[in-house]
């Protein structure tokens, strides 16, 4: 029997002279190079084509290894958080792994928000951070931060690389882990020691991941159980989430809906998975979902969750969510199944693969037993859809209605447009009013709700559009004045990298979503929500005249200061014209400052923690109250 080893679980990185591997263990095949060069080479060999980042002391060797011969495009951002969000936007737009490289300490801590965001929204991302030398770890060295420790709760996996020889294998594993199973962020913390040491580079590398075996294919029993449930249900709904987008399952979802006749409702990240024009799509459900979608789910007898996770913004009060429904839950992550809602048929597997297997199973069942008649169900659903369409009022103070701006943007945009949003009211209006045509055309921060996500994610999406679609997919960012200011420095990165992102700021001069809650739940006490960046009205001279008019920053001047084109729209005519102009500009970023009403509210709404059956369509109208059995 082998002797027990010292307990490594407790021990940290060994100090002292770096252990030299004995001659028989040392790998001497392959090309000799430094660890830093191996990082660049490994990324090239993995097929990485675009990398975002910002250099610094502890990652300098890697940046030194990036040069004109490097096969990937390197995009320099102005803040590490943006490097992370750009990698996320790139990943969602292209379906590939987003990669960013930042330095140690503050560089690494700045990217934590993006890591947490990618973890919540299951976005495949590899984050390479610098780290001080092995012998300096634990000494509070300059720009030292235990980023592996800091990110334990928000990563899919993480590595601390202390030896150069590990670099090709670790990057291979990190890339594999990020994109397989439930996608997520992987942190690779590279000590300066590992970057500067030499190694013999060999490729491909064998991965050593004994504890990682994601299930992708469902077994037969659960599929036939699911088919049987479909056969016995007269009010089914497909509740489609971000997992279906990650698995690229738009076509399968559509086919499942065709075969079973079930309506489709989507979560925020799954907007556009099936085109909005499809009659089976009822829109988004949940806190700000359509009455038809939320109502269908509340009354359904079979809820089929497809890559969704029963988030509280979707379910409202859990015990009151779809109370009469039996549940089929399809998810690649077994921990999601039964986490928030007890499930009748759990199906663990990749959404596309599962649906490819499930649809023939259902067809077989239907061939023998026939198809349930869903006419009455569609009557109910269509009744809700007709009675309670998405609607809004014009602004009483002559400003633009923000919902109208979104509709107009959507009307004028190419069907190939990739839509990106920040977080707040504008995000909800974008999700509600854009006419989505294609999957992978909606990029937004869902789970974490990261304000400031928009601009850097749009940057990443544009880089992805240039790479995979020859720039033919225009990128429109719909942002709020508050959200935009959190990462507006990235206008510089857009300008220098020739990324013609089009930016629509729905400027209501306040933190609108917070203000909406203050209006509804905090007795109109507008504590710390006035931004004073959009007070001027048509005819006012901004920056002059009345004391009340602050308008700092002037977004048009800000855009111009960064080499971008800035426009402002107070009226519908100005807005239509500005959007038309913006769609014609393809050589630089364009920003339009739309002046919208600060008291416009996002409706429908379910108050936090309330039942979805208490949804308010507009003030005073609660159409679902009491209608369920």
């Amino acid at each position: 029997m082998a002797l027990p080893t010292p307990l490594q679980a407790f021990s940290a990185v060994p100090k002292g002279p770096v252990e030299k591997l004995s001659a028989d263990k040392r790998i001497v095949n392959g090309e000799k190079m430094t660890g830093a060069q191996a990082v660049v080479r490994a990324l090239e060999d993995l097929g990485v084509e675009d990398v975002f980042g910002l250099p610094g002391g502890a990652i300098l060797p890697v940046y030194d290894a990036i040069n004109d011969e490097t096969k990937f495009r390197f995009v320099l951002v102005r803040h590490e958080q943006a490097a992370g969000h750009a990698a996320e936007g790139y990943a969602v737009a292209t379906g590939k792994v987003g990669v960013c490289i930042v330095t140690s300490g503050p560089g690494a801590t700045n990217v934590v928000t993006a890591i947490a965001d990618a973890n919540m929204d299951s976005i495949p991302m590899v984050v390479i951070t610098g780290q001080v030398g092995v012998n300096a770890i634990g000494t509070d060295a300059f720009q030292e931060a235990d980023i592996v420790g800091i990110t334990y709760p928000v990563v899919k996996h993480s590595y601390l690389v202390t030896s150069a020889q590990d670099i090709p294998r670790v990057l291979t594993e990190a890339y594999h882990i990020a994109r397989t199973g439930r996608p997520g962020p992987v942190v690779v913390d590279l000590t300066k020691t590992a970057q500067t040491e030499e190694l013999f580079y060999s490729w491909p590398q064998r991965m050593i991941l004994p504890g990682y075996n994601p299930t992708t294919k469902a077994h037969g029993r659960v599929l036939s159980n699911a088919a049987k449930l479909f056969g016995q249900s007269y009010r089914p709904v497909l509740y489609v989430g971000g997992g279906a987008v990650r698995s690229d399952a738009g076509e399968q979802v559509k086919r499942l809906s065709d075969v079973t006749g079930a309506p489709i409702v989507t979560t925020l990240p799954a907007r556009g998975i099936v085109p909005e024009s499809d009659p089976a799509v009822l829109g988004m459900l949940g806190m700000h979902g359509t009455i038809a979608a939320t109502g269908a789910v509340q009354q359904c007898d079979l809820l089929v969750s497809i890559g969704a996770r029963f988030d509280d913004r979707v379910t409202g009060s859990l015990p009151d969510f779809a109370p009469a429904a039996r549940v089929i839950h399809i998810d690649i992550d077994p921990a999601e199944i039964g986490k928030n809602r007890q499930v009748d048929v759990p199906i663990v597997g990749d959404v596309s693969t599962v649906l490819d297997d499930l649809i023939p199973e259902i067809e077989r069942y239907q061939a023998i037993n026939g198809k349930p008649d869903l006419e009455a169900w569609w009557d109910t659903v269509n009744d809700l859809r007709e009675k309670y369409p998405m609607q809004y009022d014009e602004s009483p103070d002559g400003t633009l209605a923000p919902q109208w701006v979104v509709e107009e943007l959507s009307r004028q945009a190419s069907p190939d447009t990739i839509w990106v949003s920040g977080v707040g009211q504008h995000q909800m209006w974008a999700a509600q009013f854009i006419d989505f045509h294609k999957p992978h055309s909606w990029i937004s921060s869902g789970g974490l709700g990261t304000m400031g996500f928009g601009l850097p994610a749009a940057l990443g999406a544009q880089v992805g559009s240039d790479r995979d679609f020859d720039g033919k997919k225009p990128v429109w960012l719909i942002d709020g004045d508050g959200s935009f200011q959190m990462t507006s420095e990235e206008l510089a990165a857009l300008f220098f990298n020739h990324l013609p992102v089009k930016i629509a700021i729905l400027n209501n001069s306040v933190y609108g979503m917070v203000r909406q809650w203050q209006t509804l739940f905090y007795k109109n006490h507008y504590s710390a929500t006035n931004l004073m960046d959009g007070e001027a009205r048509q005819g006012d001279v901004i920056g002059e005249g009345a004391d009340e008019i602050m308008d700092v920053p002037d977004f048009v001047k800000l855009a111009e200061a960064y080499g971008c084109i800035g426009m402002r729209a107070f009226t519908k005519e100005q807005a239509e014209e500005a959007i038309r102009k913006a769609n014609e500009i393809n050589d630089r970023p364009v920003l339009i400052d739309f002046r919208v009403w600060k008291d416009a509210m996002v409706w429908p709404m379910v108050a936090a923690g309330a039942s979805n059956s208490d949804v308010t369509y507009k003030p005073g109208v609660q159409p679902l109250k009491g209608i369920q059995d």
């Binding site: 027990p4 490594q8 592996v148 590990d166 504890g211």
Partner: protein, 184 residues
Amino acid sequence: MANYPASQPGSQRHTLSVLVENRPGVLARISGLFARRAFNINSLSVSPTERPDISRVTVTADVDQIPLEQIIKQLNKLLHVLKIVDLDSANTVNRELVLVKVAADAKTRSDVLEIVQTFRVRVVDMHPESLVIEATGSGEKLDSLLALLDDYGIIELVRSGSVALTRGPRALSEKVVGSEIKGR
């Protein structure tokens, strides 16, 4: 149904054996998971095993069936976790170790020694005013021992987490693939 905190008083005691890769940082990942998912545990002990590439974490928790499933699923998401078994108490040997320093002078010493003998535990240090007793056994046995010793005055006490093995010739690590990688 979500039921947090996952550990409720009165729930059933479960012992989980978690086989993990023997790498730095594994314990931090596991204990951090318990903390942030609001899983309260009674004890946790980590040790090397018969295989150099595998460490074994023994966790005991009072928890209902549904939160327990969630604990196991979340643990399984950690890449360094190789295998998790919810041990069946009827088929498991479960032991804890306690070292206890009891006040015992000439007057009470013989009474304490009688308890020691009855419980078949050992005295490992003797002083005119105290005894140090080493005891191993199931948690219940140690609880009743300590309850009796309490009358004489417990000066100091230290107790290990529970460790457990299944009965019979099989090992949990059979068929488990480990790795000899030493880095994180």
